[in-house]
Each structure stands twice: as structure tokens, then as C-alpha cells.
Amino acid sequence: MQMVKKIFITLFVVWFAFLWLMPKQELYYKLEHELAKSAIKINEKKIEEGFFTLTLREADIYAQGIKLATVEKVSLFTLLFYTHISVEKLLLDDSLKSMAPTSIENTNIIHKVWNPLNISMDAEGGFGTLSGKANLKERALRIDFNASKGIEMLKPKLKQDEKGWYYETSF
């Protein structure tokens, strides 16, 4: 029993130390370098590290040199078995208003180790609310627009069923 206790304590300490001592900022820089290969760049004003979190503040997102959006806060929280990314106040560039809703208040993306092949997401904005699911095994993404308004510009890309409008793609 003592041995089991010791093993658990050791695992807990390793897990805690792994997350606590993780060079989160440098890992984020690595992500930036990987994204830059696809011509996606993020200019953030501030990076904050916590025990389990990494927060970007006032980030501008560019693709192919074009400014796509400004995000007030992006927060990444991970316990390894549970990861939560939250995006607050995402404003799409005004020139994209003919393609997508320009304001998204909150977006949450969650991955749980007990449901490893699925990533769930939800968002709320001027268009109403949406919820989605990405299946990593089938490499499929479905986003359902619930009680949506002002999504006329998206409708050519959406499908409709008894639940309402939804977007479906594979990756």
C-alpha cells in the first residue's frame, strides 16, 4: 500500500512539475514558427504564463500578410488530460464582413482525454450561438448554428437539416 502511495505521489509530482515547469512561452513560439510555414502569423501585445495556463492579450492574426482578426484574449489551459482554449472578443477585419460575421464574443474549444478522438467547441456572437464537434478519427468537422441570425453571407456554404443550419467539412 505504501508503495502504491509512493508511486501515486511520484506521478503526481512529475505531472505537476511537467506542467508547472513547461516552457510555455517557448512552446508557443514554436507554434508560431509552425504556423508561419502556412503564412499565418500572430502579433500579440502580451504573453502571460500561469501554472497551467498561457494567455495572449490583444493579438492580431494575419494570413498571407492580410490582417484577418483581432482577439482581445486567448487563453490556453491544460492539465494534459483536459485542455481548454478560450478566445474572447474576436473581431474579424471589417473587409471580411461580406464573408463571415465580424464579431465573436466567446469561443471555447475543449479536448478531454476520456473522449480523445473528439474536440468540442462552442461560440457566441452577433450571429447567435454555435456548437461544433471535430472527429479526429474521421477527420470531419460539423458546426451547428443554433438560433442564428445574420449568417446570410455564410448560407451558401451551409447545409440545412431539421436542427437548422450547419457547416460540414473534412480536414
Partner: protein
């Protein structure tokens, strides 16, 4: 000698600290070997050449006085005012010049000149007035949905003018001789519906090593308005209104400002030849 700490507790704490140290060292090694110490920042292009805008030379917003000029010989004809399309206006206090399209030909008229029996009397900001057989006809500058013809009668006309024809909602591209005239509504439609652009025209990258050097037209659908713009497959777009199109950002800059542009000048490379294509947006 009495121990300050129980050896077992001390050993456990030491073990935990050792674990922390091991994890720290592991992360340090990962950091040194694989992780960058700085991120990638987007740097805005500086020194880019600003778009230039050509302006319509119509200093008078109000209609120019319709002073009766010495009329040139007016040929009697049974022509129809609907066959005259007003493409462009130059209107000053002392001179009025308009470009019209008639029977698929463009003609430049100054005040007093006649076409198909209709004599140019004057012009306003977006219309020209013609007279024929003591009736006055107002022809609007070519725009999206109507042919732009109105008729007013000095003495009450005996015959009502034809109702304006309704054009397709998307507008059209008209050949005005040395340049093309694009309906603003057509441009607005494509600015709002980018997907429609890619159904009608294919655009690919031209790279010079790693750097983007321009955009190549990969196809133009035959029955689309793009086919009337005189651009062809394999043309390379070099610049638009003086702005070099050597990045997506530059191309997007033109797209963002397209609603404020009245004229477009495209410099393209066709084979070994560099050409300039002129468009007027009405």
C-alpha cells in the same frame, strides 16, 4: 544526537526535489535543442506605393448650361434614342464632351454634334441631353439596372419614349474603344460574393524562388464578364493602379478599396509583352 527532521521525511522531500530538478533539466534540454527563443512577428510592408485614383473631370456638379451651339448638319434619321448608351462625360463650363456607344461603336461627341439624328445639347454630372425634332431626351450615364434613358419634352411629346430596359442584376462590361466600362453593380456583386469570382476566373501564384512575384490567370470562363475584360489565360497581373501586386496583402488592399475606385489600370504581362489595360467603373 537528536535529528531535526525525520530521515524518512527528509529523504522523501529530497526525492521530490530531485524529481523537480529532473523535469526542469528535461525541459531545459528540450528548450535548448528544439524550442525557439522568439516568436514570428508580422511586419507590415513599408514604402508601398499607394493606389492612385483617376478622377472624372466634371468640375460642375450641376448641369452645364444647355447653350445652343452652332449646330452641325443634322441628318434626319429615324434613329432610336435607346440605341445610344452614354459611356463617359467630360463637362466643363465652356465645353461638353461625351462618349457614347451606338450600334456597337463608340463615338466622342462635343456639344452640337449629332449621332443618329440626335444632337448633343449639354450634359450634367451623370447625364447628357440630346434633342431631335423639338423633343429633348435625357440619357443617363450607363449604370447597372437601367439603360439610363429618360425623355423630357419641351413641347409635349406626341409619342411616349420607350420604357427603360431592365438589365441583368449583375451589370455588364462595355467596350468603350480604348478602355472598358464596368458597371459598378457588377463590381459590387463580385466584392460581396468572392466565390462567384473563382467560378469565373482562376488565379494562381507566380513565384520567384520563395518570393511571390505576381498572380497568373489560370482560366477565364468564356461567357463570364471577366472574359470581356480582355484578360486571358496565362496573363500575369503585375500591378493595379500603380500598386505592385506582389503579395496577397497588396491584392487584398485593392479588394478593400475597390468600392472607392472609379478607374482601374491593370499592368499585365502577356508572354514577353507588358500591357496596360484600362477600365472605367460607372
Amino acid at each position: 544526537m537528536k535529528h531535526l527532521f525525520k530521515p524518512a521525511v527528509f529523504k522523501s522531500i529530497l526525492g521530490l526535489l530531485l524529481l523537480l530538478l529532473l523535469v526542469k533539466v528535461a525541459w531545459f534540454v528540450v528548450g535548448v535543442l528544439w524550442l525557439p527563443t522568439s516568436g514570428v512577428e508580422h511586419v507590415a510592408q513599408k514604402g508601398g506605393k499607394a493606389l492612385y485614383y483617376r478622377v472624372k473631370l466634371t468640375p460642375n456638379e450641376v448641369a452645364a448650361p444647355t447653350v445652343k451651339a452652332t449646330k452641325t448638319a443634322v441628318k434626319k434619321s429615324s434613329g432610336n434614342i435607346n440605341s445610344i448608351k452614354l459611356l463617359a462625360i467630360y463637362n466643363a463650363s465652356d465645353v461638353t464632351v461625351v462618349t457614347v456607344e451606338h450600334k456597337a461603336k463608340t463615338k466622342v461627341l462635343s456639344r452640337g454634334d449629332a449621332i443618329d439624328g440626335f444632337v448633343l445639347e449639354g450634359a450634367g454630372n451623370n447625364f447628357a441631353t440630346f434633342s431631335k425634332a423639338s423633343k429633348t431626351y435625357k440619357v443617363l450615364l450607363l449604370k447597372g439596372k437601367a439603360t439610363g434613358i429618360e425623355a423630357t419634352a419641351k413641347p409635349a411629346p406626341t409619342k411616349a419614349p420607350q420604357k427603360p430596359k431592365v438589365k441583368t442584376a449583375k451589370g455588364e462590361v462595355t467596350d468603350a474603344g480604348d478602355h472598358k466600362v464596368i458597371d459598378r453593380s457588377l463590381l459590387d456583386h463580385y466584392a460581396q460574393n468572392m466565390d462567384d469570382i473563382y467560378k469565373n476566373i482562376g488565379i494562381g501564384e507566380v513565384r520567384n524562388g520563395k518570393d511571390l512575384a505576381g498572380f497568373r490567370i489560370t482560366f477565364v470562363r468564356k461567357d463570364s464578364p471577366f472574359a470581356k475584360l480582355d484578360i486571358r489565360r496565362d496573363d500575369v497581373i503585375k500591378s493595379i493602379n500603380g500598386q505592385e501586386i506582389n503579395s496577397y496583402n497588396a491584392a487584398f488592399g485593392v479588394y478593400k478599396n475597390i468600392k472607392d475606385i472609379d478607374n482601374l489600370t491593370l499592368v499585365i504581362q502577356r508572354g514577353k509583352e507588358e500591357m496596360e489595360l484600362e477600365y472605367e467603373i460607372n
